[in-house]
């Protein structure tokens, strides 16, 4: 069996067919983010208390919410995502300013007991607002640092324009994932940030595989117009791209459906990110490369500039 044997798709010629839906989705995500006032941060970032409770039978979520709201502020009760269909709920509340987590914990369980005694607590977590603020700062620094690091590495291995194109593709993926999380009303937690950084790495992988091939083809066929070289390179690596993304997607889907509720946000971000990342390395990174080169040749000289080799 061979996928895409001798494929000759004109990716660059049709780029708007693919870029337009992507822009629309990103705009929708941004609109959702603005309308909701930012991502739906979990208590990792905001501070607060969350407890995982297993209910005997279907949990009466409305009654539980009512019982808690009369005692505590900022109550949220959601069913935990789990493929096994266990009756777990996640209860999160705000911590009062002077509050002691122990008292909040007792209050939560008292409130739950008024609804039913048939429950068992599975985990409890309380995070002070200071820790949450620290994490937001760290998440920002980690993302910015990772982007800068990759830009530098690619600038050194290829040319700086390759780094810029790859980082723009990466930003596209991150923005898209954050936007989709907001559209799907999914919680943005610390593990989601970890997933985001992982898929930034994956997206970078895909982009590099294509870029490596572009560099190689430019050495072999230096006189060919860049658009053709890029198209040829994408086609040559297409079966690898689709196969790898498909297989990685299989692992991520397996985590999403069978990995348990604790990893749900992580796996969802990965599944979205792998799809978006594969897309962006073909339809975002490569057109940028082309646009840059075309502009440069138009301004400087009528002949096509020879690529520099980079370090091997």
């Amino acid at each position: 069996m061979e996928l895409f044997k001798d494929a000759h798709f004109d990716f660059l010629g049709r780029k708007w067919w693919f870029l337009l839906p992507s822009f629309v989705l990103i705009l929708a995500g941004l609109a959702s983010l603005i309308a909701k006032g930012g991502p739906r941060y979990s208590i990792d970032f905001l501070g607060g208390a969350v407890t995982d409770v297993r209910w005997e039978g279907a949990p009466p979520i409305e009654r539980i919410r009512a019982a808690l709201s009369s005692r505590l502020g900022g109550v949220s009760v959601v069913a935990a995502h789990d493929s096994t269909g266990s009756n777990e709920i996640l209860v999160s509340v705000q911590l009062p300013a002077t509050g002691d987590a122990t008292a909040v914990r007792q209050t939560i369980y008292e409130a739950l007991s008024t609804v039913s005694t048939g429950y068992s607590n599975r985990s409890f977590e309380a995070i002070g607002p200071q820790i949450g603020a620290d994490l937001r700062r760290q998440a920002f620094m980690a993302t910015a640092g990772a982007s800068a690091g990759m830009l530098l590495y690619l600038g050194w291995r290829f040319r700086i324009v390759y780094g810029v194109a790859a980082v723009v593709a990466m930003a596209h993926d991150a923005l898209m994932t954050i936007g989709l999380f907001s559209l799907l009303n999914q919680e943005f937690s610390l593990t989601v940030v970890a997933a985001l950084l992982t898929l930034i790495g994956y997206s970078m992988n895909d982009t590099i595989v294509v870029f490596d091939r572009i560099r190689e083809n430019r050495r072999a066929h230096g006189r060919e117009p860049l658009a053709e070289t890029i198209n040829r390179s994408i086609n040559q690596t297409l079966s690898r791209t689709v196969l790898t993304s498909g297989l990685t997607l299989l692992s991520a889907l397996s985590l999403l459906f069978f990995g348990g509720q604790v990893l749900h946000g992580f796996s969802l971000a990965l599944v979205i990110g792998i799809i978006v990342g594969t897309f962006s390395s073909i339809f975002v990174a490569s057109p940028i490369l082309l646009a840059w080169e075309q502009r440069r040749t138009r301004w400087t000289a009528p002949h096509i500039s020879m690529p520099t080799g980079g370090v091997r």
């Binding site: 760290q138 980690a142 640092g145 992988n205 692992s251 069978f258 990995g259």
Partner: protein, 443 residues
């Protein structure tokens, strides 16, 4: 037969045996999110100390808290510095489900002092001041008793300096007190005993105040000369008396502490997480192997072999580094499977291209591996770069994930480039005349 190939095979076999040995001999430690327990992050309030002393204050606090926890019977719970701020500590308590008692134990500063009483009781601070015409005599201070069950408390004027302090104690124990109310007894050091004897001799019949963390616990009347031992009443129950004894024995904290994060996980949730994680890994692996075998035929067997070897090496490396396997760690292992598959696909697709271009099996193999290698290095380095920035997070969970992924990438480079190549070479060397590669390409 090629001697270089045999030597390489022996190297691989030796590594496999060593890995298997490591996995069997060294147990893989599980994190609290998998085996259940409580973890606390404490903030040490070092604001009062001078900048150069802050580090010492945190370290002293850490040691004292560790002594308290050891005395509590949780000896395998080291307290680690946490975060980048330098004033936070991480306490991990395996098997603890309700952290409230431990929190009280840790948060109490346990500064014990014994004062002589100069006046009182009064109904409030204002009342006390009024009795002294609004001016507190020099070197005196006002302290309140600990609130009773109904919230009542009383105020006393005491001497400015205590007669004895917590540092004067040599030992503290719990004893059965009168009327089922346990008391905490203590023994003073030699030096303090001398001072205390003088004080009690001079003040028989007068009241004194035993003060813990700036709250008066009890107001005993000195009935006789006391030399080196005394007792503290006022504990509400035996647990409280025990905790006080533990805290007095392990010493007072140099600074106040605050619990800024608390997390408890029941063992049942941890067991479910392991079960779910292993199941997700197994299903993901099975799906990947099935696709590889049907797509790449015999080369798919190579890839599968390499995949399992990578898993073996990864787990062996984790145990050797003494890593603690957490749930994010399991996610890291599953993602490593994804990366390993990518490397194999990258190499195999390259070999196929070379075969289609008309190269011989041996030539395609050599060209495929060497051309894919440059790309592999690039993709691995960029992922390591993004992992490196995950270490910006002080959170152990995220660090564990990043560490697992980095180790996995390293073992993956070895297995997918070196081991896979050796496996292919064996395949070729067995069929000497007109060798062909079974990699799913029709020629």
């Amino acid at each position: 037969m090629n001697r270089g190939l045999i030597r390489k095979t022996f190297i691989i076999l030796a590594i496999v045996v060593a890995s298997a040995f490591a996995i069997v001999r060294l147990p893989l430690r599980l994190g609290l999110d998998l085996k259940g327990g409580a973890s606390l992050i404490l903030k040490v309030h070092v604001e009062d100390a001078s900048p150069e002393q802050q580090r010492d204050v945190v370290e002293q606090t850490r040691q004292i808290l560790e002594r308290r926890i050891n005395a509590y019977g949780l000896s395998e719970a080291p307290i680690q510095p946490y975060g980048s701020r330098g004033n936070e500590l991480l306490v991990q308590l395996p098997g603890v489900h309700d952290a409230s008692r431990i929190k009280n134990l840790l948060q109490s500063r346990a500064v014990l002092e014994w004062y002589s009483i100069e006046g009182g009781p009064y109904a409030s601070t204002e009342d006390a001041m009024a009795q002294h015409q609004g001016i507190l005599p020099y070197g005196r201070k006002i302290l309140a008793t600990r609130p009773e069950a109904d919230g009542r408390r009383a105020w006393y004027v005491v001497a400015g300096r205590p007669i004895i302090r917590g540092t004067d104690l040599r030992d503290a124990r719990v004893a059965a007190g009168t009327m089922d109310r346990p008391v905490t007894t203590f023994i003073l050091s030699q030096d303090a005993a001398g001072r205390f004897e003088q004080f009690t001799r001079a003040n028989i019949g007068r009241r004194s105040a035993i003060v813990l963390d700036q709250e008066i616990l009890s107001v005993p009347v000195i009935e006789e000369v006391i030399r080196d031992s005394g007792q503290i009443r006022g504990a509400r129950n035996r647990e409280e008396a025990e905790d006080l004894a533990v805290n007095l024995r392990s010493g007072a904290l140099p600074a106040a502490i605050e619990v800024v994060q608390e997390r408890t996980v029941e063992a049942s949730l941890g067991a479910d997480s392991i079960h779910d994680g292993v199941r997700a890994g197994a299903i993901g692996l099975a799906a990947v192997v099935a696709v590889m075998l049907s797509y790449y035929r015999w080369a798919g067997v190579n890839a599968t072999l390499v995949l399992f070897l990578n898993g073996l090496l990864l787990i062996a490396a984790l145990t050797c580094f003494g890593a603690v396997l957490t749930l994010p760690g399991i996610a890291g292992v599953v993602l490593t499977i994804g990366m390993a598959v990518d490397s194999n696909v990258l190499i195999f697709e390259r070999i196929r291209e070379e075969l289609r271009a008309g190269k011989s099996a041996a030539g395609a193999l050599a060209a495929g591996f060497s051309k894919a290698f440059a790309t592999l290095v690039d993709t691995h380095v960029t992922t390591v770069v993004s992992c490196a920035f995950l270490f910006f997070f002080g959170t152990p969970a995220v660090k564990g994930f990043a560490a697992t992924l980095v180790i996995g990438l390293t073992t993956n480079l070895f297995t997918s480039v070196f081991v896979s190549r050796v496996a292919f070479d064996w395949e070729l060397s067995r069929r000497r005349s007109n060798p062909e590669l079974s990699i799913g390409v029709a020629r």
